[in-house]
Assembly symmetry: C2
Homo-oligomer: 176 residues x 2
DNA sequence: CAGTATCCTGTCCGATACTG
DNA sequence: CAGTATCGGACAGGATACTG
């Protein structure tokens, strides 16, 4: 994707990908969420070329996902800390992890998510906060909000909200 | 990322990204989960060049996320249907969506996630399936499973599980 | 240690034209 | 409608050398 030439069409997903949608950025954020903060830690973990790492770190910092902080005067040393929006990538990483252990042929227990206090393994599931029902059991679907009906029309043609839902229903797309 | 030259180091996240880690693939999957199935629907929604779309569709099909099915004999017509592993991308899309509405400057209600039966808006939260506790409130952290302690050692040096957890703790990485 | 500076290659992608 | 074929440009990314 030619970075800037892209029109995200008002889609939050495209908007998100615009900030960290490339290979290395996600992997760097994974490491950052694992608690790594320093240039050479990233470099060693990822096996990334230093110039590329510089570039990615800068773009992540510009995007506000990481914060560059000097932790030593002489010699000048910097570390990269998670910002709040960086920390909010946690669920994205979790979702990718869950897909990965299910659908790649790695040993299913090569990496596990644990509760650090109890040591118990965690099995994350998306639920609706209000009803508590798992999303898998809900026929969940994206629908155009009031404010964006126009944009959606442009994207999807003159479909109504109902038609959009029908379409999603037809294809079994409800398994979000 | 030079696709094949990459060693995913046994990481399920890197493994996942290897299958659909580029820009267009995720956006195509978003549309597929929205119920779109046909070449020209993708093309119009995304504004993607046809040759690129062909390439991405092929790679997604090869990766097993989509299934190409002929739905008309004469003329020959094909559609792209979600496979199970494709459907399992739902949570990834949801996670990206949630980050997007929170951290991009789109109207927060341009697109909403709704329960198609009740019409009620859904607010997805990751919880631990067993305890029901939101992941935000758990000090969740990735840890090397038994089977992979060796690989992790290679990645992280001679750190123990405990040291890994400490590191995560220090940086506030628990907010997965 | 934490990068910067160069050079080079691959390939992702867009534009366009064409086909059954 | 559902693509294939071809061309060209822009970067991403790797390798390597160098610096305070």
């Amino acid at each position: 994707m030619r970075q800037s030439s892209f029109n995200n069409m008002g889609c939050p997903i495209a908007g998100a990908l615009e900030h960290f949608g490339d290979w290395w950025s996600l992997l760097i954020m994974r490491d950052a969420l694992d608690g790594f903060t320093r240039f050479d830690e990233f470099q060693e973990n990822l096996g990334i070329a230093p110039n590329i790492l510089t570039r990615r770190l800068k773009s992540l910092t510009d995007a506000g996902l990481l914060e560059r902080r000097q932790y030593s005067e002489r010699p000048a040393r910097y570390e990269y800390l998670l910002t709040e929006s960086g920390r909010d990538l946690g669920p994205v990483i979790v979702a990718l992890y869950l897909w990965g252990i299910k659908h790649t042929d790695l040993d299913h227990h090569s990496v596990v998510l644990v509760d650090q206090d109890s040591g118990a393994e965690i099995e994350p599931v998306y639920v609706d906060r209000r009803s508590g029902r798992p999303l898998r059991e809900i026929r969940a679907v994206f629908a155009a909000g009031r404010a964006a009906t126009d944009q959606m029309r442009r994207r999807h043609g003159p479909e109504t909200k109902a038609a959009l839902r029908d379409r999603a229903l037809r294809s079994g797309a409800a398994a979000l």
